[in-house]
Amino acid sequence: MSTATVTEKPTTAKDKPLGGRFVGATANYLDERTSISGFIKELGRKIFPDHWSFMLGEIALWSFVVVLLSGTFLTFFFQASMVETHYTGAYAPLRGVEMSAALASTLEISFDIRGGLLVRQIHHWAALVFVAGIGIHMLRVFFTGAFRKPRELNWVIGFILFILAMGEGFTGYSLPDDLLSGNGLRIIDGMIKGIPLIGTWTSFLLFGGEFPGTEIVGRLYVLHILLLPAILAALLLLHLMLMIINKHTQFAGPGRTNDNVVGYPMMPVYMSKMGGFFFIVFGVIVLVASVFQINPIWNYGPYDPSPVSAGTQPDWYIGFADGALRLVPPHLESVFLNHTWSWNILLPLAVIGIFIVLVLIYPFIEAWITGDKREHHIAQRPRNAATRTAIGAAGVTFYAVLWAAASSDLIATHFWLTMEGVIHSLQALLILGPIVAYFITKRICIALQKKDREIALHGYESGRIVRLPGGEYIEVHQPVDEYERWKLVSYETNEPLVVRPNAQGRIPWHENLRSSISRWFFEDRLTPVTQTEVDEALAHQHHNLEHIEEEETAEIQAAHDRAGVPDAPLVATEDRVHETGNKPSTVIATDDKGEGWSGTGGGPKKD
């Protein structure tokens, strides 16, 4: 509709520029100074593909904008200082209590500034949504193989954004200088001290002397509002620019190929959809912030090294690290070369570090195994990359167990279990869970591939049961239409590498390794369906369906003849559709309008 109006306007009012004289003059003014018309020409009608899962990254993007907006408001009131004051604000229970200016100003934001608590809660909730949005967006990218060439670098950038977002979260969480955040910092301090060689001094420099000192809040503040956001925003810009340069991936579908993008233009559809979605993300966060309390620092009070409450937990995204600390077995520390080696810190740090590095470089590992140097713009269905999906499921399970371990004490108290039992179970699950998840997921993926193949070649189960003359009951399978079939069959497969000696007659060790990993990846696979197979299956199916119909017709006609009404209709009329017994074969479910089953393409679509 909008395209029609655009083309109509110039013909009706030729001399008038689009949008009127003023807009035209402004556009001209800008273009003569910025060449912006070229930019608009390139991007204005750029096509973006459509799929609900492409919205997940937008959640992260827009919640980051909300974090920036709400955070900027907070900076006008927050004092990043650990100078000692006596609280004199509106919250009676803490009046007169000694605390740092940071906590006092946070309390002031919460209790003395109208809407201040709302903005604080918006900021905290938006930060949680931000990290969650990145996480779930990353899962989408991973499971659909959207990280493959040419997008490996954007995966790395995105993953660094994830780490930065967690850093932002932790630094922000520590700013109010309340009891909980102080305990969080205490844990960080203890972990840093456990790092060999540099640990003690790193902690000493970070805290400006002994823990807790009077510096840390100011320093974290600089990280939180200047350094990390600047890096984050720059990388985010790069991330989006690469997305535009590479163009978004699309799912396989009719008309969609590796060489095109099918979808809707940036202006007006995505401008409206994405812009609208920003307001929805913002609105939902505000709604949550106005209804659900988060981080009630006034209940915790100022930081004091002595008290701590049971059941303390970090924000959700730090949970996996805290869980890793908890799962370490006792007594892992040794003295070697007259220095202390804190394996109980180093082990979880190494486990998390290796996990992070593996996720970070996964695109390169997979590219090395497949040796595939082509560009891939079609997002895969997870089932069609069974091994990768299984690896992803194993990784998710591993993360989930670490995450659950951060609540080990709450699990124990809520479910009346022993602390030791919970920890030991989670320790076992951390090893066994990913293995089990891997095999189950892989088998499910392959089973789903088989199902796809079955549907593509033999049609879907129509739910229509037919009794054949011989007395046999069958369920009629209706073929799917060609557009649906394309979605099911348009994937390619990989075969394991067969190593061959190189020019020197040797097989290098890394090719042997690559060969065995590729066997692990691609041993279990289905051959993609070919056009010949489809054609044969279709012909066979048509033949079957026609045969059933012929026999049916003959039997009905014979019944009519015997009854002495040879001219009676063969197909139930409209008003008798719901009656049974009209045909020799019993129809359980009928097509609409009683057209029978002659049409092969006219059946209901399986969506």
């Binding site: 809407g115 420099l205 609105g283």
Partner: protein, 358 residues
């Protein structure tokens, strides 16, 4: 247009390897875009009018939400400090803003889905790699710059420049040593983390006092099975400027009384307890959380952060969880007035391990 595309494809270098991917000899043919299915708003003008009405109604509703939020800002003051007032202020401003934002969002998306054209469009993709001619031009640019500057040829200039650039970063790094203090006449150990970590303010004869009041504790007040959170008596006098929190973070102690026969003490520590009363550092040897939970029946101490457990009856040895070392014990006795006092500082550094600990 078509010619351009073809020409550019030839210009993009050889076809990249497909690796282990299997080319299917007879692939299923892509059927092309399915026919467009009109929406109800495309076929029924009444539905279209309804959609248009819905969109602008939502936008007007958003204005109402904004006005409500401003009204709520004035209608729900918080200056009396009542929790209920703050709750109302938070809730009603928030609901107004949420309505304003959500209505814009839903309206805009409804506009795009129901009213704007939904004909799918196709745009070609080009390989990301630049055209051969462009790449050659880029290489040429580098080559000419290299030729004219002698960057590749004049290695002395180049290498000394790289060395100078690297060296110029070092002063900036060194400046950050100032993040932590140096030793000074007033604070002779301020720049020595190992020294600071190795000592607390406990001294011989210093009374054990209640946390946080600073009231000293008499041995007679420590009944069987009870536990006290303890600080050194002079700590309560310290202000935050004098390092109250830093000293407290190291000096906190848990005091418990067990039956003397329940205590399994090592020979050289027999005189570190008094009449079944033992004092242990409250700072977890794992990562430093306060080990605040005492289970009276089992004499176990539990750290609420990572669930390390220590057995008080056996020298606070680790019996579960990630901690590696027992809690350090504070040697105690009583003074003439019956108050519990320390006999010395801790004999080892308290809290989490660190590299220079041995």
């Amino acid at each position: 247009m078509a010619h351009e595309v073809e020409a550019s494809e030839h210009d993009r270098g050889p076809a990249p390897s497909s690796g282990l991917a299997v080319a299917v000899a007879d692939p299923v043919q892509n059927p092309g875009l399915p026919p467009h299915r009109p929406r109800v708003t495309d076929t029924d003008p009444k539905k279209m009018r309804h959609a248009v009405r819905t969109v602008y109604t939502l936008f007007y509703l958003s204005i109402a939400g904004s006005i409500w939020a401003i009204a709520a800002y004035m209608l729900f003051p918080i200056e009396d400090g009542a929790i209920l007032a703050i709750r109302h202020n938070n809730l009603f401003i928030g609901l107004g803003i949420a309505l304003a934002l959500l209505a814009i969002g839903i309206g805009a998306i409804h506009w795009s889905k129901a009213i704007m054209s939904d004909h799918e469009q196709i745009e070609p993709r080009h390989p990301t790699r630049g055209r051969e001619s462009t790449r050659e031009a880029a290489v040429q640019a580098f080559a000419e710059a290299n030729e004219e500057s002698g960057f590749g040829r004049r290695t002395m200039i180049r290498n000394s420049l790289i060395a100078a650039l690297v060296a110029s970063i070092a002063p900036g790094v060194v400046l950050f040593r100032g993040l932590a203090p140096f030793d000074s006449p007033d604070h002779p150990n301020a720049g020595n983390p190992v020294e600071l970590l190795s000592h607390t303010m406990w001294k011989d004869g210093m009374r054990l006092a209640r946390d946080p009041s600073g009231v000293p504790i008499k041995a007679s007040e420590v009944t069987l099975g009870s536990a006290f959170h303890v600080i050194p008596e002079p700590l309560a006098e310290l202000s935050h400027h004098d390092g109250y929190l830093e000293e407290k973070a190291k000096a906190i102690v848990l005091l418990m009384r067990l039956l003397p026969e329940q205590l399994h003490e090592e020979e050289d520590r027999k005189d570190w307890s008094y009449n079944g009363i033992v004092a242990y550092s409250k700072v977890c040897t794992h990562v430093g959380c306060p080990v605040a939970l005492y289970e009276q029946q089992t004499h176990h101490l539990l750290c609420p952060c990572h669930q390390s457990q220590f057995d008080v009856s056996r020298g606070a040895a680790v019996i579960f969880g990630p901690a590696a070392r027992p809690l350090p014990q504070l040697p105690i006795t009583v003074d003439d007035e019956g108050y519990l006092i320390a006999r010395s500082d801790f004999t080892e550094p308290v809290g989490p391990s660190f590299w220079e600990r041995h």
